[in-house]
Subunit: 365 residues, 4 copies
C-alpha cells in the first residue's frame, strides 16, 4: 500500500520534507512507500512551480478539499495555519506531521493535542534534531547510564541571520503570527531536546531581549516594529533534579547555526554542535578528556543506511530519519514520539519563560 501525502507549505520546510520523502526508498528500502500526492497553498503560480520542483502530482488551493484524498498531512506552513487544518485532518483520521511550534498560542496547541487524542491517526511534531545520529548516540549512552545522574544541561541555539539591524523584517518578527521569537523558534528545539534527554521541566526563570526594535521591510523605505524577542535566556530545573541553562538568538553576530548542547552527570557527559553534526564529544569515567567520536560508523544510529565510515552526512538527513520513524509507526500501528503532547509540553515551557520575563520571578511549568 502506498500512502498518499499532502503538504501544506512549500518553503524551506516543504523542501526539507519533500527531499526526505524522495530519498527514503534508496536508503531505507523497508520504509513504507509514500506518494507525493498534493501540494497545498494559496498562490497557484508559485504552487505549480513548487510542485514541479518538489515532485508533487497535483496542487490544491483549498486545504479542506485536499484532505479528501490523502493519508498523511504534512503541515509545514507558517505557525498561524497549523491549528485548523491539523485538527480537521485528525478528525478524519488522517495522520499529521506538523512542524514546530504547534501553534502561536498554547490554546491552539492544546486543541490540536485534544484532536490527536481522539483520533485513530498518528500525530507527530517536527522536532527533527532528535534524529541527528550523534544525539541519538548521546541518548543511547545516557539511557545506558554512561553519564550517571544528570546534573546539568546547557543548550544554546545561536543564529545570526538578523544580527544586523538592517536585516529585513520577516513574519517571524511579528508576535501575532509567530507567537514568539527566538524563544519559540530555536528555543523550542533546545527545550524539546532537553526534555527528550532528561525528562520534564518543573520550573523556569527567563529573560527576553529585543535588541533591534524595528526592521526595514523588503523592497521599500518602510520599517516595521519587531514585537518578538530576538534573544532569550532561561534557567530551568528538571523533575529529576538537574538544572538547565538555555539560550537562543537570531541576532548572534558571531554565529551561523550554532545549535549546541552539553550535558554532564555524575559519571560523564557529552558536547554537541550542529555545525559539526557528525561529531559527538563524549567523556566517560574511563576518559581523561573529551573523546571526539565521528558518528559515521555502521553501528551508529541510522548510519548503516548511508555511506562508509568517515563520509559525513548533512542537516537534511535528520528529516529522512524522522520520516522513516514516523512512517514506520504508521505502518506498524505504533505510537510515535515526539507527539502532540510533547508539542504542548514545549509550549508550556515557552509560555512559562515568557511569563517569568514579565513577572520577574520563577514560574512553575
Amino acid at each position: 500500500m502506498t500512502l498518499k501525502a499532502g503538504f501544506l507549505g512549500y518553503g524551506l520546510m516543504g523542501k526539507a520534507h519533500a527531499n526526505a520523502l524522495a530519498r527514503l526508498p534508496m536508503f531505507f528500502p523497508d520504509a513504507p512507500e509514500v506518494e507525493r500526492s498534493v501540494l497545498i497553498g494559496r498562490t497557484v503560480e508559485a504552487l505549480e512551480e513548487a510542485a514541479d520542483t518538489l515532485g508533487f502530482n497535483r496542487i490544491e488551493s483549498d486545504w479542506e478539499a485536499a484532505l479528501d484524498d490523502i493519508d498523511i498531512l504534512y503541515n509545514l506552513g507558517p505557525t498561524r495555519i497549523h491549528v485548523d487544518p491539523t485538527v480537521a485532518a485528525l478528525n478524519r483520521d488522517i495522520h499529521v506531521l506538523c512542524e514546530k511550534p504547534l501553534a502561536p498560542q498554547t490554546a491552539g496547541a492544546e486543541k490540536m493535542a485534544e484532536a490527536a487524542r481522539k483520533s485513530d491517526a498518528i500525530a507527530g511534531v517536527g522536532y527533527n534534531y532528535r534524529y541527528v545520529p550523534a544525539l541519538q548516540l548521546a541518548k543511547r549512552m545516557l539511557d545506558a547510564g554512561e553519564f550517571g545522574d544528570v546534573r546539568r544541561i546547557r543548550g544554546q541555539y545561536l543564529q545570526g541571520w538578523q544580527a544586523d539591524p538592517d536585516d529585513e523584517w520577516v513574519w517571524r518578527n511579528d508576535v501575532e503570527r509567530s507567537g514568539s521569537g527566538a524563544l519559540g523558534d530555536v528555543g523550542a528545539h533546545t527545550i524539546d531536546l532537553a526534555r527528550w534527554l532528561i525528562g520534564g521541566i518543573d520550573r523556569v526563570c527567563g529573560r527576553l531581549d529585543t535588541f533591534v526594535t524595528e526592521r526595514p521591510v523588503a523592497g521599500g523605505d518602510e520599517t516595521r516594529p519587531v514585537t518578538t524577542d530576538d534573544e532569550y535566556s532561561a534557567i530551568a530545573t528538571f523533575e529529576n533534579g538537574a538544572t538547565g541553562v538555555f539560550e537562543g538568538s537570531r541576532v548572534a553576530t558571531t554565529r551561523e547555526g550554532g545549535n549546541e548542547l552539553e550535558l554532564y552527570g555524575s559519571r560523564g557527559g557529552f558536547r554537541f554542535d550542529m555545525e559539526r553534526l557528525n561529531e559527538l564529544e563524549v567523556y566517560t569515567r574511563d576518559d581523561d578528556g573529551f573523546e571526539r567520536v565521528l558518528v559515521t560508523a555502521d553501528d551508529h544510529p541510522y548510519m548503516d543506511a548511508w555511506w562508509p565510515t568517515g563520509h559525513i552526512i548533512g542537516w537534511e538527513h535528520t528529516f529522512v530519519h524522522e520520516h522513516y520513524e514516523f512512517l514506520s509507526a504508521i505502518e506498524e500501528g505504533r505510537s510515535y514520539s515526539p507527539d502532540f503532547e510533547t508539542g504542548v509540553a514545549v509550549h508550556r515551557v515557552v509560555n512559562a519563560i515568557q511569563q517569568s520575563n514579565e513577572d520577574g520571578s520563577w514560574i512553575l511549568v
Copy 2:
C-alpha cells in the same frame, strides 16, 4: 530532451551516483533531465535488487548491448573493467563519466584518453572532491591571488578501514586488479586536488609501505597476500616552484576519513579536512590567525542550491555538484574538466611515485 544513463557498477559508487542523479531535479532545476535507464552488471539477482533500490528502469548483463540505448555511460565498476566499456562507449560518441583511477595501468588510461580525444562525446573522470564547496572557495581565493605565490601544499588522506591486521582481504589489496593500493586509491584524489589547485607536478620522490602483508578472506580460514601498498609518502615539486608533501593510508589506526589539505603561499593559505567538509580555515594578510569559515552561505559555491546558512551538507553532495557540471557541459557542448587527460596525468604521478620507491631516487614525471 532527457538523457538516458547507463550505470556499470552498483556498489558504493553506483549508489553515490544514482543518489546524485535522483537529487538533481529538486536542487538544480536547470540541470538537464536524466533518466536512470539501465543498470549493467553480471549477477542478475543482485542487479535486480540494486536496480529497484537505485531507481533504474531495467537491467542488462551485457555491457555492449547496453550501449545501444544510452546517452551516457557511468563507469563505476572495479578499476579493471574501466577500459574496454569506456573506449567502446566513446567510440560510439556516448558520453562517459568514469570513476578514478581510470585503469589499473597507465597504458589503459592512455588508451581511454586516446578514445576520448577522437570522440565527439564528453569524457570525465570522477574526482568528486573538486566539488566540495569549501575547496571551490579555496580555489576561488587562490586564483584571485589571496594566498600569493604558492610555497607548499600538504595533502594527507588517511583512512583506517584496514588498520587492524584482522580486517578482511578485498580486491583493492591485489595489485593485478587495482594497479595500486592506498597510493592509487586515496592518493589519486590528493594528487588530483593538488594539480587542480596549483598546476603540474614535475618531479617526485616516494615511498610505499605494506605493514600488513596478508589478510584473512571473508568467511573462511584462508588468508591472501596483500600485493599493494597500504600506505604511501611522497614529496613532489611543482612546475610553479612549490613543493608538496603527500601521504595516504588505509591502515591509519587513528583515522576514519581524514582527507586533509593545507596550502600556503607568500600571502596566506588555507586548511581543509573532509571530516568537516563544510569548513574552510583561511588565513590572509589581514588575519592574525586562521579564520574558520562555515561554507554554507548563499554566496558560497553551490550553496544557494541547498539550505539556509548554518545548515551543513554531506559527502554525497559533492556528487550532485559533479553531475550538475558534467551534465551541463553535455547540454551546452562545453568541455569538461577533470577529463581523461587529467586522469592520465594523475596516473603518471602515481607511476612516478611507484618507480621512485623501487629506484630510490627522484623521478621526473
Copy 3:
C-alpha cells in the same frame, strides 16, 4: 627603594604570588624591587619549610607583629582571615593585595573597603584573570568599538575537582568559612570579568545546586555535610542593556579548568577558554567566522616581556602581570583597579544571586 612584602598564607595562592614576585626582575625590569620579607602563618614548622621554598627571609606567627616591618601585605589565606589583618594593614597605610573573595560576608568586605577609602595605601583584590593577555586584547578591541554594542556575555567556569562524590571534604565546602561555594569561588571571577568588560550588573536571577550533600573527611571514615553550593547558574542584566548568562561548578565531571567567556555585540565578538589561555577567537564585521588569534606576538598585551611569538605562556603568568601593575601603581602613586570597591561590587552580585535562589525572583543588585 625596595618594598618589603609580607605574605599571609602559603598554599596555592602563596606559591602563585611568590613565584610572580620572583620572576618580575628578569621580565619586567622596570618594576619596583620587592623583597620577600616575611611569611606569616600559624604552624611554625610548615611556615619554615614554605619560607625556604618560597624564598622568604623570615617567618612570623603573629600577623600584627609582622605589620611592623612591611610595606605591602599580600593576604592570601583562607577567606575568613581576610578582614582583620587587611583592615589593620590599611589603617597603618600598608598596601594590601587581597585574594578574592574579600570576605565570607559582604559586611566584612564593606569594612575592608571602608578601611581602603580612609587609607593612603593602595588596596587591590586578586582578580588575576584580568591579566590574561588574550582577555586584555579582548578588552582593548571591545573598548575600541570593534564588537559594537554588547548584546550578550556568557561566562562559565566549570571545574571538576569535586565531581566524584568520593572527593574529599575541604573548607571550601563549609559556608561558615567560605561564605559561598562555586558561586563565590569561581563565579566571582566570572562576575568580575563581566563587570570589567561591560560594566555594572543591575539585576540577577539565580539558582544554586548542591548535588553532593556530604563528603568524606581525609584520612578517616567520617563524612561532613556540604553547606555550600557546588554549582550555580545565573542570568544577569547589565546597565548598558546587555544580558549575561553565568555558570560555575566544582562538580563538572567533564571539565578540569574550563574558564570560558564569550561575548558578542552588534558588530562582532570573541570567545576565550582558560585551558587555551594564549588564544582568543575573534569575530569582527570583516570576518566570515571566528579567527583564532595566538596572543603571543610582541604587540599583544604584556607579551613583549616574554618569548618570541608562537611560544606560549601559562596560568601563573597572569600573577606576574598583576604584580607588575599593582607595584607600578604603588611606585607611581596611581590608583589601582580592581580595588576593594570592585571586590564589594562582586560580593553584592554574589549575594543577589544567593537571595534570588532563596526568593525565587529577580533581585536588584
Copy 4:
C-alpha cells in the same frame, strides 16, 4: 654543594635557561643548587645589562678564563661558537649543556662528542621539547605498548617569522654561520623527537627550498643573500620499519610556532601541537576517536611540581624540566640523554637530507 654555572650567550636561549635555573628551587626543591656565577660574552656593556637582568654575579669576556671558575658551562651562543669552548670545558671535566645544533658542520659535532666520551663530565644537548609533559606522556604510552608497532610519524615545525620577503636578514640565513636553515634549526627538533620516540633513522629522501633568496639588512638599504634553506621536506625510514614524514619552515605564512607531531601504530596513536602544549590527543584501541587529554594532572609527567589540574604551563617550563634532569644526572653521577651522541646522530640525518637534496636520491644515514 652549590654548582657554579657559566653561561656563554645571553640572547633568547640565555634568558630561557637563566629563567629555568631561577625557578628550580621553588618548584623542584630536590634539585641541586646552582649559582648563576658568570655570564660570558664579548660586548661588556651588553653583558653587564644582561647579567643584571638574568641574575649573574659577574661577567667575563674571555671564555677560557671563565672556565677556571665554573662547574657547568651552558653553551647558548650562536652555533659557530659551540665547538671550541665546549671541547675545552669537557677537557677540563666541566659539565656542558649545549644548545642545538651542536655545530655548523658534523665534523665539529663529532669533535665535541669525542671530547664528551673522554671526559668525566656530563654533556647534554638542548633538545628541550623532550621535556614537554604531553610528549613525555606520549612516550610513556608508546613504551607501554599502547600504540602498538609504530607505522608512521609525521613531524612539522612550521614557523612564519620570515614569511614576508621584507622580514630582515639574520645570521640564521647564512650557511657559514648556521650550517643549515630551517632544516638544522627547527628540523633538528623534529628529528630528535622522532628518534627519541621510535629509534634510529636509516634512510632519508629530502628536499630544500629557498623561496626568498635575499633579505634586507636591518637599518639600511642593503640586502644580503639567503644561503640557507627556508623550508625542508623529508621522508625517512626507521630501523624498526616505520616511515616518517618531516617538514619545517620559517616562511610558513599561516603559522607562528606550529611544532606538530603525529604518530600512529598498529593499536593507536597521538597528536601534539606546541601551540597547545598542555594537550595531547590520544587514540587507543578502546577509543572511537581522539581523546583530548589536558596534561595538567598531578600524575602527569612533571606536573605535580606545578599547579592544580586545569592550570596550564608554558613553553619556558620545558627548560626547567630539562635543567632538573641534567642537574640531577650530575648530582647522582648518572648518564644524561640527549647527549652528544644524540646530537651527532641528528647532525647525520640533517646531512643526509641535505645530500639527498643535492643528489636526487635516497641517502643512507
